[in-house]
């Protein structure tokens, strides 16, 4: 999370940081970049560029990173773009202009959540999914679709909410899964990477999951031992950290914040982390799960540095009124229906939570807002 006070000064009064933050706040409308950020990476400008090294010689991925810069790239490619993986110059100029306006609004106008979680770079990719070539996730199998449940969408879906288990693992402050932990969302896209000669640790600010990836050659856990984040084993292939993961559960999903229809416990994934610039890590994840997806698929995005970005404690449970309000709202709706029936009146219309941000009906007696709680 990038934290700034109303005067644009960074929390924590290091004078050097203060100067940077003040300069940012005085920038006004940020400049619109002319070139997609991926074409400015050090490795692109100089193919002999090498990542900085740890003291024991591994390429260094260490630092605080975020996926805020990827927020303007669609997860799946709009169908009309077909197999074109990069924006046209006109499309890029439009995205860059929008990003610049968003950044200006974020820095100089907004006070709402997300104010300081807007990226500072514009990438030219047409989607985060890069394989299949149409940039769209392959269809799920009938078996996976048959498992769909209210809990797959939780507060993003229509309910009904009869138990805490009708909410996503994210709603419940448990995990967003491996991909969900990194996919860009509207806030909280930060993570910290720390390396040792034997392991690489990735801590995600949101939900504060920490993955420990062993890179010392030990075998994976016994197949009977299942974890939300599986069993990850990594090794260095030249400049790239390659991580193989298995032993997953069938309880996580590949949508943003880890929502959506769940994959199967047979899923395996290969992730590739390559530092391509002092300020960019290219992240490529390939997943295969013949039980849940009709084909393997690959998602690519960048972890980048952001000015004044730090990782803080994430108070998920303390601020988690969504689950209790979803449940109490559902109970209140049931009572409203019972009261209406007792009076011989028609039942109030139940507004699903997924529609709660849509314009509401004007006749206030005609609907019941499931998100209003009690």
């Amino acid at each position: 999370m990038r934290i700034m006070d109303p005067f644009g000064l960074t929390v924590g009064a290091l004078s050097a940081v203060l100067c940077v933050a003040t300069a940012l706040a005085q920038q006004g409308v940020p400049a619109v970049p002319a070139v997609p950020a991926e074409k400015t990476a050090a490795i692109v400008l100089d193919p002999s560029w090498k990542a900085p090294r740890t003291s024991w010689g591994h390429p260094s991925l260490e630092g605080v990173w975020s996926t805020d810069d990827m927020r303007s790239v669609p997860y799946e490619r709009p169908e009309e773009i077909g197999e074109r993986a990069e924006l046209t110059p006109d499309e890029f100029a439009a995205r860059a202009r929008r990003n610049s306006e968003d950044l200006d609004r974020s820095r100089n106008q907004q006070t709402f959540s997300g104010r300081n979680d807007v990226g500072v770079r514009t990438f030219g990719y047409t989607s985060l999914v890069v394989d299949p070539p149409n940039g769209r996730l392959p269809p799920m199998t009938d078996a996976a679709l048959a498992r769909r449940a209210v809990r797959d969408e939780g507060t993003y879906g229509p309910g009904p909410f009869n138990s805490h288990e009708d909410f996503t693992l994210y709603d419940r402050c448990i995990t967003r899964g491996i991909l969900g932990g990194a996919l860009p969302v509207s806030y909280g896209n930060g993570m910290r990477i720390v390396q040792t000669p034997q392991s690489v640790a990735i801590s995600y600010e949101m939900i504060h999951d920490t993955r420990i990836i062993d890179i010392d050659g030990r075998p994976p856990l016994d197949a009977g031992l299942r974890q939300y984040l599986g069993s990850s084993r990594g090794h260095w292939e030249g400049e790239t950290l390659v991580v193989e993961t298995r032993n997953l559960t069938d309880q996580t999903s590949f949508g943003r914040n880890g929502r959506g229809p769940r994959h199967s416990a047979a899923m395996t994934m290969t992730e590739r982390f390559t530092r391509i610039d002092p300020d960019m890590i290219e992240y490529i994840i390939t997943a295969q799960d013949p039980e849940a997806y009709t084909a393997p698929f690959t998602v690519r995005f960048m972890y980048t540095t952001q000015p004044d970005y730090r990782i803080f404690e994430y108070s998920c449970h303390e601020g988690n009124t969504a689950v209790s309000q979803g449940l109490s709202g559902e109970r209140a709706y049931e009572r409203a229906v019972a009261e209406a029936q007792a009076k011989g009146l028609p039942s109030p219309v139940r507004i699903p939570s997924s529609d709660s941000l849509a314009p509401l009906p004007t006749d206030e007696d005609a609907f019941f807002d499931i998100n209003a709680g009690e």
């Binding site: 419940r172 402050c173 448990i174 420990i212 856990l221 031992l225 974890q227 939300y228 449970h317």
Partner: protein, 115 residues
């Protein structure tokens, strides 16, 4: 989850520490305020020292004039395990809170029935 303000209840009373050999007594003011944890201005200094190939000495000093009349310290060893850590499915199996709340509600119903 153990957090800073649980320190008094969750730690065993320091024995190998430099000074106190019994539990530090909280100030009467803190007790009267119904506060069982530490104050917001508590300062904790931890010293982690590798004293052996597979032993860390973990020492801590707690300074919190709102809660304790004087600073107190504790120390214990952390021993390296030939083992691995696993995911801890805490929320999924956390029946403690729900059972306590429903137990109190049940108790309330019993008492209500007495009147």
């Amino acid at each position: 989850m153990k957090r800073g303000n649980d320190a008094r209840r969750s730690s065993t009373c320091p024995r190998t520490a430099a000074s106190p050999s019994s539990c530090p007594k909280p100030l009467r003011a803190a007790r009267q305020a119904g506060r069982s944890g530490a104050g917001a201005d508590m300062r904790v200094i931890e010293r982690i020292t590798r004293v052996d190939h597979n032993t860390l000495e973990y020492a801590f000093r707690v300074e919190d004039p709102d809660t304790w009349a004087e600073p107190w310290v504790g120390v214990y060893p952390l021993t390296e395990m030939d083992s691995v850590l696993f995911e801890y499915a805490r929320t999924e199996r956390n029946y403690g809170m729900a059972n306590i709340l429903s137990g109190v509600r049940a108790e309330e119903r019993v008492h209500a029935g007495e009147h």
